[in-house]
Symmetry: C2
Subunit: 130 residues, 2 copies
């Protein structure tokens, strides 16, 4: 493994949290996870590759939806245990619900309310409802 | 506990990752953690209160440095297991190194390089080096 990969402080499961941000708008799109291989693949491809904890496998973002995330910049935080990706999100959609960002629920007077519109019906994105 | 607190999918340790973003500039400042009490305190105070995993206690951001983070908006992601804070960061500094953001290391041709300046000497912020 390369030295820069070992500089990351991977947690007990070999993972690190990854914040993904639209490089143009600054919108925070997702919080996902990477392991060493996912980070190496992200850099090799120039597109975001995460570790899916639900599916326990590498997940090349956009592999089904086409909504790949081209890497503009890759950053690491002060204690080396969190990663920031600044990306160009294809189709302007990051969420499996068809929204721009996964952070579409907003706290409003003690309740979570849906604050963002669906841009594209997930049935049209995936050919099925997720 | 309130219903909105229980809507968060807390992990096995009772924590959720929190992305904190400057509401004005869009800059991603930190990746930190909250438990139920930290989130409730954040909302009650209107300022970011995290759970310090290193110190195993509630951490009112800015309690030592003065760099409190006033909450502008609080969001939850699609699967309810990550939180986004949009804040006004006092002093324009979020990192204990005296930088605007904790994400100051940038991957550049296979090496992490320091990409952002120190705005204020940590010795002046804390009265000692951190």
């Amino acid at each position: 493994m390369s030295e820069w990969l070992e500089a990351v402080q991977w947690n007990g499961e070999g993972l690190a949290p990854v914040v993904t941000q639209d490089a143009a708008s600054g919108r925070v799109l997702t919080l996902a996870w990477m392991n060493r291989t996912a980070l190496a693949e992200t850099v090799r491809r120039g597109e975001a590759v995460y570790w899916s904890r639900a599916r326990q496998r590498l997940w090349h973002k956009g592999e089904e939806s086409g909504h790949v995330q081209r890497i503009v910049e890759l950053r690491l935080d002060c204690d080396g245990d969190a990663i920031l990706l600044r990306v160009e999100p294809a189709g302007g959609i990051a969420c499996h619900t068809g929204r721009e960002s996964c952070f579409f629920q907003k706290l409003d007077h003690g309740a979570w309310v849906t604050a963002d519109p669906v841009i594209k019906d997930p049935a049209l994105i995936y050919g099925r409802t997720p």
